[in-house]
């Protein structure tokens, strides 16, 4: 196990340097140098320009700049936002729970609907039920989610008046942030109705973000099930008198689950950018779009690195979990 972990970590090292190189190169590749970027439209005098260049270490050779950048990153210093003047890492981790909450709920939505749908489709293979489920999931897979979000807003928020249009909580409530997860925090607070409000705000974004994973999970569950259902050991298990449900639960789902969920992390974080923009959800995705548009390039640089970090950590965890479940992988 440790050897496996070590090997996986070793592969991450060059990727980490690769990502820092991308983040470092990003600021350098922008039109104009970082000082001009900092100064923005106000402009800057040549003397001040030289002074700032020296202060930021930009007069040194490129490789030295890169090394000191990596040094800063390793010490947890990801630069300072130009807009808020706060450390980028601090802003990121403040907003992170909102995105995590949204992503977790989206995945739950996708798993809770997707796995039974896939199982039913596999068991009823070839019938109209199977075809119906597969057609719907292919449509879900083809969905432009930014449009899907707008459509749901038109329908549920505007026509039926069931859900709010944006944000995480009605402004009527004041909830003390404890975990950063609004659903939990609103339960912990003694504000009546806060939990309901948080839930109402969460439903549509979670459905929108969960739509593509739902389609993928349903399709993958179906094909995994079909493969497993024809295996000899399933026939044996059936012959031994195990109930079909047990056969399905034990043999088919175990392997399928974790890979399916693991594959979705990068997709989810990409989708979060669109979903959070549409629903005004105050998370990482909306923040990074705002940073791109307000030319807060140091925030974009830091965000890029941290999001890549999240993807790498999650992928590593999934690999390890998968190794635990299926020991053959370890060798």
């Amino acid at each position: 196990m440790f050897k496996f972990l070590f090997k996986r970590l070793l592969v991450l090292v060059p990727v980490f340097f690769g990502v820092t190189l991308v983040a470092f190169g990003f600021i350098r590749a922008l039109p104009g140098d970082p000082v001009e970027v900092l100064a923005g439209e106000r402009g800057v005098s040549p003397e001040r320009h030289a002074e700032l260049m020296a202060k930021l270490g930009l007069d040194q050779p490129l490789w030295q700049q890169y090394l000191s950048y990596v040094g800063d990153v390793l010490q947890g210093d990801l630069g300072t936002s130009l807009i808020t003047n706060r450390p980028v890492a601090e802003e990121f981790f403040e907003l992170f729970p909102a995105t995590a909450e949204l992503a977790i709920c989206a995945i739950l939505f996708a798993v809770i609907l997707g796995i039974p749908a896939g199982i039913i489709a596999a068991v009823k293979r070839g019938t109209w039920i199977d075809q119906g489920i597969m057609s719907i999931s292919l449509a879900g897979y083809s969905m432009p989610i930014f449009w899907w979000g707008l459509l749901l807003i038109i329908l549920f928020s505007n026509t039926l008046n069931l859900t709010p249009v944006s944000g995480r909580l009605s402004f009527l409530f004041e909830v003390e942030p404890v975990t950063g997860f609004m659903l939990i925090d609103s339960l912990l607070s003694d504000e009546k109705g806060a939990f309901k409000s948080a839930l109402h705000h969460l439903v549509l974004p979670a459905i929108v973000l969960g739509t593509i994973p739902l389609a993928v999970i349903a399709r993958q569950t179906r094909s995994a099930m079909l493969e497993v259902l024809s295996e000899d050991y399933v026939r044996t298990a059936k012959a031994k008198g195990l109930s079909p449900l047990r056969v399905i639960a034990i043999h088919a789902l175990r392997n399928a689950m974790i890979t399916v969920i693991g594959l979705q992390v990068a997709v989810l974080l990409g989708g979060a950018i669109l979903t959070e923009t549409i629903f005004g959800w105050p998370g990482i995705g909306k923040w990074i779009i705002f940073s791109v548009f307000s030319r807060d390039y140091f925030a974009v640089q830091g965000g890029l690195l941290l999001i890549a970090g999240c993807v790498m950590v999650v992928n590593l965890t999934v690999d390890l979990l998968y190794g635990l479940i299926n020991p053959r992988i370890l060798h």
Binding site: V11, P14, V15, G18, V19, L21, V22, F26, A29, L30, P31, S135, L138, A139, Y141, S142, M143, P144, F146, W147, W148, L150, L151, I153, I154, N158, A266, V267, L269, G270, G271, I273, L274, T277, I288, I289, V292, F293, Y297, V300, L304, I307, A308, V311, M312
Partner: protein
């Protein structure tokens, strides 16, 4: 001798093609997807002829007219008009052109670069392979849309730059796929034979190995084509792709977003266009995978 070899290879090709078509045509939904897609392609090619109005002509006195079947609608503007009185149907028809071209170019760029790098990585091995694969790992560590956004921030917003950015994020999947197939093919007898016969590395890579790696690449290409249309639209929606007044489908949704409550048709129809086009391609892609995957074929 030469002519007989050509005939055999020709008949093998045509037999493969017939077999492929057999498996493809059994699947009614895939054929439906193909027919629909051909329709969209024709629509894109003939956009100037079939669209009832110019996509940029503003009929100011007819702003925000609802579709023909709704109250206040006119047959002249079948799908209604937007805030500036431009005909939605004409804009969507012209948008098909932009979306299809964008999809094609993204796939061509990412596939050609990806296949080349994948072949080299699989064929050469060693440090060349390590460097190529670690670069691909790096690209894959960043969510595609974010990577594309960052690249567009550097290159500047616009349809062409959006396509380049999306193509870069799609390259790793082609590299990985090609490398994996190359490594399997590399140890087969026919490659060794051709090597013994004195074929150079170029001939080995492109004439011996590449044709035998095509099946998964075709499937990947089809699936990338549909996601490329989605991602181009997403970047357009975020304001980083095609810029107004270009009638790219995602841009159409973005520019009419403020109207989505008062004139929902301006947002609904471009979205349906994206959904249907992508769905048609995915229907085909699914079936291509079944038809080209020998494991699934016999079941």
């Amino acid at each position: 001798m030469t002519s007989s070899t050509t005939t055999t290879s020709y008949s093998v090709r045509s037999q493969q093609w017939r077999e492929f078509w057999f498996y493809f045509s059994v699947n009614k939904t895939a054929v439906a997807g193909l027919v629909f897609l051909i329709g969209v392609v024709l629509m894109a090619i003939l956009a100037d002829v079939i669209s009832p109005h110019s996509p940029t002509e503003q009929y100011r006195e007819f702003a925000e007219i609802p579709p023909a079947w709704m109250e206040g609608g006119q047959m002249r503007f079948f799908l209604g008009t937007d805030y500036a009185g431009r005909d939605m149907l004409s804009r969507i028809i012209h948008g098909a052109r932009l979306s299809l071209i964008a999809g094609c170019i993204v796939v061509l760029m990412s596939a050609s670069i990806g296949v080349l790098l994948g072949l080299v990585a699989g064929f050469r091995g060693g440090w060349v392979e390590t460097i190529i694969m670690r670069i691909m790992d790096t690209i894959m560590a960043v969510p595609g849309l974010l990577m594309a956004l960052v690249l567009v921030a550097v290159l500047g917003p616009g349809l062409l730059n959006a396509m380049v950015a999306i193509a870069i994020t799609y390259t790793p999947s082609f590299v990985r796929l090609t490398r994996a197939s190359t490594m399997t093919e590399l140890n087969k007898d026919y490659v060794t034979a051709s090597k013994v016969a004195g074929a150079g590395p170029m001939r080995l890579m492109f004439i011996s190995i590449l044709p035998n790696c095509m099946a998964p690449l075709i499937v990947q290409g089809t699936l990338s084509f549909s996601t490329a249309i989605l991602d181009t639209a997403a970047l357009g929606f975020l304001g980083m792709g095609a810029q107004a007044p270009l009638p790219e489908w995602g841009t159409l949704i973005a520019e009419n977003r403020d109207l989505m409550l008062s004139a929902p048709w301006t947002v609904t129809f471009p979205g349906i266009a994206i959904l249907l086009a992508v769905l048609a391609i995915n229907l085909m892609g699914d079936c291509l995978r079944d038809a080209l995957d020998p494991k699934l074929k016999r079941s």
